[in-house]
């Protein structure tokens, strides 16, 4: 083991000396990928094995990542890397398959809903074909199933079901001993994602109760109600997992809070760009100094640092543009920024900030 580490360190050092780069293996990528795109070293490649339609606007992509990919736990997500018109884009998606599929067959699935106007989701739907190769990062995220001592309630909305499908599969496989309930909110019956998987689970495991609730079948929408929660036995003791649009997440958090459930019992994960906190535009904005570029610009309102930098003609590295992937993380050398997801105000000193969700509050200096 030690010998391997020493050897790889030495190889890495030598690679840096000879090839002038931190990832020497990727030096050969331009040649090797011309022969087989799966030989890329710069990121982990995955080949699209097949694509299936879940609903009119949702597809599941079955992917075969390179064997060096590190695997995942149910409920985690990963970043997908694709090039569209010469530009690399990174977006975060939940894994919808169970880890067992990866361990047994080397396959994973991503279930992606078309977002109106979304560049990447539409590209995945319209352009990606089986046989194509896309890039992946390792999985991350702490939306993980509990260790089997407590009953569980899942509350999902729309395509927020995707990490939960992975979790339900895994829990069923491991014969989770406590009752599991799923409240799944969809607009109409044709919007149900993974219907067959859910029905199979329900028929096979008596401890799993499934409630699919349609919200938009009548003139007045029917959202999460107190009756829905009343119908869940032993609610107070459950571990609760939330994934869905912000409206549903907020409503559920509020109602569960009123019933005295503790924060530790609630687990939630991202699903779509979280709606930004409404920042009062009077105290945001300010002069932004890009010290490495010798450039200073003024900003007003709730424009984030990434947009400010781009408007100033800079092209900082970036990914998801929604505060998840950390590709745009950059050193702030001074000044105060507001996190537009949480509304939290930073300290005034030097620290790393995510450009895409940081809004200046007064003058800010960045090492960019």
């Amino acid at each position: 083991m030690l010998a391997t580490i020493t050897r790889s360190k030495a190889a890495h050092w030598l690679g840096r000396q000879l090839l002038n780069r931190e990832d020497p293996k990727a030096f050969f990528d331009p040649l090797t990928t011309a022969i087989n795109p799966m030989w890329v070293q710069q990121y982990t490649p995955a080949r699209v094995e097949r694509i299936t339609e879940e609903t009119a606007d949702t597809k599941t992509f079955v992917l075969k990542p390179a064997r060096r990919w590190g695997g995942f736990q149910a409920g985690q997500h990963l970043n997908v890397r694709i090039d569209i018109n010469g530009v690399r884009h990174t977006r975060t998606f939940s894994l919808s398959s169970s880890p067992a599929l990866w361990e047994d067959n080397g396959l994973i699935t991503l279930t992606v809903k078309r977002l109106p106007g979304g560049l990447v989701t539409n590209w995945l739907h319209d352009e990606l074909k089986s046989g194509d190769v896309i890039g992946l990062t390792e999985a991350f995220g702490d939306f993980l199933i509990p260790n089997g001592k407590k009953p569980v309630l899942f509350i999902a909305g729309g395509s927020g079901i995707t990490p939960i499908l992975s979790q339900l599969d895994t829990m069923a496989r491991e014969q989770y001993p406590e009752p599991i309930t799923l409240l799944y909110y969809v607009r109409t019956p044709s919007d149900v994602i993974g219907e067959q998987r859910l029905t199979t689970l329900k028929n096979r495991y008596p401890t799993f109760s499934l409630h699919i609730i349609t919200t938009h079948e009548n003139a007045t929408p029917r959202y999460l109600s107190d009756q829905d929660l009343d119908s869940v036995p032993n609610l107070a003791n459950r571990e609760i997992f939330l994934c869905g649009p912000k409206g549903l997440m907020d409503l559920a958090t509020e109602k569960l809070g009123q019933r005295g459930l503790k924060d530790e019992q609630l687990h939630s994960t991202f699903f779509a760009p979280p709606a930004p906190v409404r920042l009062s535009s009077s105290d945001t904005g300010g002069e932004v100094t890009f010290s490495a570029s010798n450039l200073s610009v003024d900003s007003t309102g709730d424009t984030n640092l990434l947009e400010i930098a781009e408007a100033a003609g800079l092209s900082p590295q970036h990914g998801c543009r929604m505060g998840i992937c950390h590709q745009c993380t950059c050193r702030k050398t001074s000044g105060t920024v507001v996190n537009r997801l949480t509304g939290q105000v930073s300290g005034a000193g030097s620290e790393s900030v995510q450009l895409c969700i940081s809004v200046p509050q007064g003058p800010v200096a960045l090492a960019l």
Partner: protein, 357 residues
């Protein structure tokens, strides 16, 4: 210097900004494909050169290997490294083509290059005393700089600078001339020297120790071939760069002229302080499109392979504003560079004739 009034300068800025915006709006697959093709070609040339070099005991193979490695270094330095470090491909969001992290195959560290070239040279282009690229502090190329006896044989300095070009560039930030006249102290340069030694050491280790040692029985051949490849690159890159700013009609400026200038005036200075040379597609690629030095100086962060098509529009703008567009064949432009080096090796009173500079 060509004089335009404030309104004309504003108009010049508007005209050039329009060309720039048009390209920016059109960036995409085509540009990505170009730079990736260049990177792929570089890998082929470099690997080909390194693999063939040990067989250099066969003379034609030695020539092929040295040429291949030399071309690899030229392509990597000029069309890839220089242009990537200008941020020409940052919009691609590809970490291997990012201006801030790219490290090139030459003795000068990218960090030092970005400071001295991207900032100093591109901001203060041809401003005597501010743009240290103007004559590299060893050549007198304008009467704005007082004549000293040491300038008499500066053509020899020029030859030495060309042969050792990568080392000259690597030590550029040391500002040796300021050290010798006491304007700066070695102590302030400690951080730079550490960085320079690390990068230069890495380059020397690779070409002059590692690869020769790897093929020990033929080490002298590999050493000679690697040195030859570096020499080819040094001579070519120095020649291209000299043709960019030191041709007969390339203008120089005083600090007062550039002080507090408008963007329009900066554009004018870039247009008149730079010079192009003509040639075919591969001559342009091998010079990193610095054969379109004028376009490069006006738009340093637009992908360089766009310069040929932008050139037409830039010439139209120049004609409109009565600005001289300095271009000619490679031989003609280089001839005027040599003339300039010779001419300014002598004091003004000897060479005085109707104003050129």
């Amino acid at each position: 210097m060509n004089t335009l009034n404030e309104q004309q300068l504003n108009e010049l800025q508007t005209d050039l900004d329009a060309i720039r915006d048009e390209v920016l709006a059109d960036l995409g697959e085509r540009d990505a494909t170009h730079i990736r093709n260049m990177v792929r070609l570089h890998r082929k040339l470099e690997i080909g050169g390194r693999v063939l070099m040990p067989f250099g005991f066969i003379p034609p193979v030695f020539l092929a290997a040295t040429a291949s490695l030399g071309l690899a270094k030229i392509l990597e330095n000029m069309e890839i490294g220089h242009n990537v470090m200008h941020g020409q491909y940052d919009w691609m969001n590809d970490p291997s083509l990012n201006s801030q992290t790219y490290e090139w195959d030459t003795a000068c560290s990218s960090e030092s290059w970005r400071r001295t070239h991207n900032f100093e040279h591109h901001t203060y282009t041809n401003v005597i005393g501010k743009d240290r690229d103007y004559g590299y502090a060893v050549l007198r190329l304008s009467n704005d700089e007082p004549w000293r006896p040491r300038h008499t044989f500066q053509v020899l300095n020029y030859a030495a600078l060309s042969v050792l070009f990568q080392w000259g560039v690597a030590l550029h930030e040391l500002e040796a001339e300021k050290l010798s006249n006491g304007k700066s102290h070695l102590k302030e340069k400690r951080a730079f020297l550490k960085l320079a030694a690390k990068k230069a050491g890495r380059q020397a280790f690779k070409d002059y120790i590692f690869f020769p040692a790897l093929t020990l029985p033929v080490a002298p051949i590999v050493l000679a071939g690697n040195a030859g490849a570096n020499l080819i690159r040094n001579l070519w890159s120095s020649t291209v760069i000299f043709c960019g700013h030191f041709t007969q009609d390339a203008e120089t400026f005083t600090e007062e002229e550039a002080e507090g200038e408008s963007k329009g005036h900066w554009y004018l200075r870039q247009l008149t302080g730079s010079s192009n040379f003509t040639g075919g597609k591969w001559l342009h690629i091998m010079s990193g499109h610095l054969s379109f030095q004028i376009e490069h100086h006006v738009f340093p962060d637009l992908p360089a392979h766009r310069y040929p098509e932008i050139s037409e529009k830039v010439q139209t703008v120049c004609r409109k504003h009565g600005i001289h567009y300095n271009t000619g064949s490679f031989a003609k432009q280089y001839g005027t560079v040599l003339k300039r080096i010779l001419r300014y090796s002598l004091p003004e009173r000897i060479t005085r004739r109707p104003a050129v500079a």
